[in-house]
Symmetry: C3
Subunit: 450 residues, 3 copies
């Protein structure tokens, strides 16, 4: 028995403590990064969610996680809030969403306003007031603060696909770095999901990170808090609800919504919005005309930061959208102040990522639907494959600063030519070529590969 | 022997490493929260201090700790500074305190000002100058920055009881999360206290977190630094001082103090104070007239944040005071951006706390003198017992944002009625009742329970 | 075998897990601090770098590290960026440096500006443009943001000695607390260095924290990115470069540089610089005329903070320079909001450091070339030895606040005399001496020791 428990012990020590010690010496001792696919899927009545495993080294180092919702027509993602700020990118489709902000008024009202009380049970159906709702479409980025509840409804004519980036190590999350999703309805985190999660984690103790907060509250107390009967209160708790976290709207969903013209929707906003209640939280990054860097032969790059979407200064996050044509190169670069999570939206690219020891911790293909984390300061270069490459990037700084290694405005160009000549042991003529041969800034076409 | 050390080993691994690993995977994997009482008491000549054990899960998750001083008449809490900002709430009694702020002048002077030098030994007794001192009373909250030394004197006519909330995971604390108290006099942390502490921790290596910094300095060096004789310098070190950290003032304490009228003391201040030297650090939260939410049948709620006490924006903390009448309900809610520590000042309440999995991590009574920690984002509801309930809450954000689940301005009210109907599988009529039946905002009376 | 692996196991548990557990209970449970010398040296063609071991308790607690570069005449520290903001202090010599800031233009241009393209291979030698370069000299402090690449060239007539302070636990570093140096050229982190590092760490897995990021990038891809031939691209990767991280400039280095008068160089700047591109990052702390505290018989003290070097508010760091004459005393004090790393530049001093338990965690000599870390809130006192003492201090707050225990503006002076009398059990007369005998503020001469 001693021997048995000994080997068990060894196992615990080697896996368990060894792990603890290594982690403490450096959570970012990343010697290998992978292009990641989702690890498990949670299916619901109205769609499904694919989760990336956030226990991988590079995810833990960056303190980030990501999931992808696929919401069918008439699917409704139940109201939920997270312990971290999130950025949503709309990969496909269109829909409507609402963010419920603490203390903000219900500013969307139907024509006839009425006082409702327990006694007035015969009010008309369509009378309602609620907080602002907004339409969104492919290419939109939506920024949501930690703890702000939100819901999403697919009222479009195709499947809606969104990726949700969580910045768990953000200052706004005072819990630990595990992503947590607090639902306000339904019965997420049911047995089926638990089972999948336990299998992934290889542990009977692993638990999923979804649930309906009402389910832990007493139904009598809820009845009093809502001033409804216990039968109704019970429905808030969703205990026998087998629909999951994305439901199908059996009853038609009609929203109070101003019908804005296309122009209005694309209008550029500027300046700091006055309060969180009226703050703009959405911007479309897909339009080519919005590009910050543009090279007709090579591609384009658009960034979204606290200067063009002010709420990002509160979230301390930013995003970017890139398009590389066939074989085009995105200049080797590093971010001085941010981790980056890249989600590939189309095509494929060769990517190399290098750490401070000069080791390539990633050298491979990144393909549509995959995710790659680039830690802060690590050098990275991309070259699009034959079919070209498109991606969205999420950065853990409201104004992520990029430093390129080649091209105009690059670090190497900032060096005196004599420093270049000595550093690389080249002639001054070669040094000048290294500095000045590449005239473009960020995105290069590659005649050699073409 | 192998077997012996094996079991010892198993013990170490299971308790020790298991602990380390669990912690690392999530310091806030809180599956159970308790209403806590103090764990040990340190007795002194002039009073006693009761410490809550900050190694409990929910305290560690929130990075907070709390202690309660009971200071007898003429008791003086010796000057002390902490490694974290603290908020003090005065539960009972009145007294005088001073905060010693780096670089601020001694602005309280007795009539006759004199130059003192080593040679002028015959100066008059009552000539003095010192930094600002201020009176305080029951219901006051006092905000003290990390590292600012302060002292408290009970010159009232009854026992003084204050609770002190430490935010150890605050940005201002660059040490680890253990609360530390650096005294400038006396001999705190004596053997008696060590003994109690070791017993609590079950370890011979545990050490208390109090001490007089002078005791570690050489007395000859102190004599030179203060330009006094070695005999006097020795007294700074307090080595044979058996009085503890709260002493009884044997010599009468007379302070230079402007005698303000009652009106002046209650005057509301506005705007940002000009420097830290003159910043206001105190406000009374007990007066009913100060309530931010008021319901004559159910109770009231007052909050203290960076808008009404500007120094809190530096401390990144806020506080609130709640009163619930018999059976009244405090709306189910969550804080988007803060942990909360609740200290019950009177009566009792049923409280439920729910995590993101929908599990009730606490469902029980919170009674006068007990403490309950509610982690950020966790949902919580309170219903006062027959005798009513009063409390003070400390929040780890200078402007803690509350989101209610029922009542006016609640998250559920912000949802379109059709979303409510679909989410909870209820008719539109029921959905409207869920949204609109409860008209109050935060504090509800409960006719059903009455 | 069971016994063998058992003892191995015990070893692992005691060293490994015990370590993990202790760390978690408090990374700043510092019971002993040492005056530290460098742990290992990395030699290069043009100089050498001495590293302090940042795994010591007090370095880990403070989240800091330090290294010393000794750069020979014509030595060039290759362009490098770090994962943390750094402060550089110039101990000896003079030189030129450049900081490559993302997105800033090459504002230093030679007279004849030309367009260079791949086809124009016959351009004149001396035509160049690069980012701002600046001279520096003994006594200068230079502030560099995390991720900003920089280089240093010794064009003076003696060895150049600089110490570089890294604040690894700074908010700007989103990687873990290990210092990382990303070089843009050469072949740092070669076998020789690895070997030394492994010996120090006692582990075959330990790896140095230096490397050339180009070495991990594919040379074909680099050739395309730089639009140069593969031969040249290969030189960027520096694979057979045996010169190390400080090279000797074989080719003369001529820089475009305005020749400013001495006066201009010493001109005091004020106010916030407009952008990071033109921000001032350097200031000389050695001139006696700059002192903030000055006592002709005892010494002087100059501080550099966000008020006089605005970029420090972004770095959240500050620095100070102290000079104590023979036997002079620096008042016992604590910093309310910062750790301090002291580097002794000349002479020696007795230093005592006291923790919150009143224990002297250091009581010894600090000598020229040694380093001492004083954790936040710990009390410290210095008395210069016979030969006097000079030092530079780096603080982990942009406006480190000092609280003295004796002297004018001290905490003790802020206490009412009756509080002093009761706290220290002295007569009011003695209390007045304790408060008022020492008239100086920060630096005292010590007639008794003289």
């Amino acid at each position: 028995m001693a021997k048995l428990s000994l080997s068990l012990l060894s196992f615990l020590v080697l896996l368990g403590c060894g792990y603890a010690i290594r982690e403490q010496q450096g959570e970012c001792q990343v010697s290998n990064i992978d292009a990641r696919e989702p690890s498990y899927t949670v299916r619901s009545e109205g769609g499904q969610t694919e989760f990336w495993d956030n226990h991988n080294n590079e995810f833990r180092c960056a303190g980030v996680s990501i999931r992808r919702h696929i919401i069918q027509q008439r699917g409704l993602l139940l109201p939920v809030y997270h312990n971290a700020p999130v950025l949503v990118y709309v990969v496909q489709g269109r829909g409507t969403y609402g963010v419920l902000t603490s203390g903000c008024a219900e500013t969307f009202e139907s024509g006839q306003q009425q006082q409702f009380s327990r006694e007035e049970r015969s009010q008309r159906f369509r009378v309602d007031k609620h907080q602002k709702v907004e339409e969104f479409q492919k290419g939109d980025v939506i920024a949501i603060r930690a703890g702000d509840a939100h819901w999403v409804y697919n009222d479009g004519d195709q499947e809606l696909v969104v990726v949700v980036f969580h910045h768990n190590s953000n200052y706004a999350n005072q819990l630990d770095q595990n992503p947590r999703s607090f639902f306000l309805a339904g019965n997420p985190g049911s047995e089926q999901e638990e089972e999948q999660y336990r299998r992934l984690r290889g542990s009977q103790e692993a638990q999923s990170e979804l649930g309906n907060v009402f389910s832990g509250l007493d139904e009598e107390l809820l009845a009093e808090a809502f001033n409804v009967d216990v039968e109704t209160a019970r429905k808030l708790r969703g205990q026998n609800d087998g629909r999951g976290h994305i439901i199908r709207a059996e009853k038609s969903i009609q929203l109070i919504q101003p019908h804005r013209s296309r122009q209005e929707q694309e209008r550029q906003h500027n300046g700091l919005e006055e309060t969180f209640c009226s703050a703009r939280v959405k911007e479309n990054l897909d339009r080519a005309s919005r590009a910050d860097f543009y090279n007709p032969r090579a591609g384009r790059f658009s960034s979204l930061n606290s200067f063009n979407l002010p709420i990002l200064s509160f979230l301390q996050l930013s995003a970017a959208r890139g398009v590389l044509h066939r074989n085009a190169i995105f200049s080797p670069h590093w971010y001085t102040n941010a981790h980056t999570l890249i989600y590939a939206t189309r095509g494929a690219s060769r990517v190399q990522i290098v750490n401070h020891r000069g080791q390539a911790v990633f050298d491979g293909q990144l393909r549509e639907g995959q995710v790659l984390v680039v830690p802060q300061n690590f050098a990275v270069v991309k070259q699009a494959a034959e079919q070209g490459f498109e991606w969205v990037a999420f950065n853990t700084n409201e104004n992520a600063a990029i430093n390129t290694l080649s091209g105009r405005t690059s670090a190497i160009r900032g060096l005196p030519v004599d420093v270049v000549a000595n550093a690389y042991q080249v002639s001054r003529e070669e040094a000048q070529k290294i500095k000045f041969s590449r005239q473009e800034t960020l995105i290069f076409n590659a005649p050699h590969s073409a």
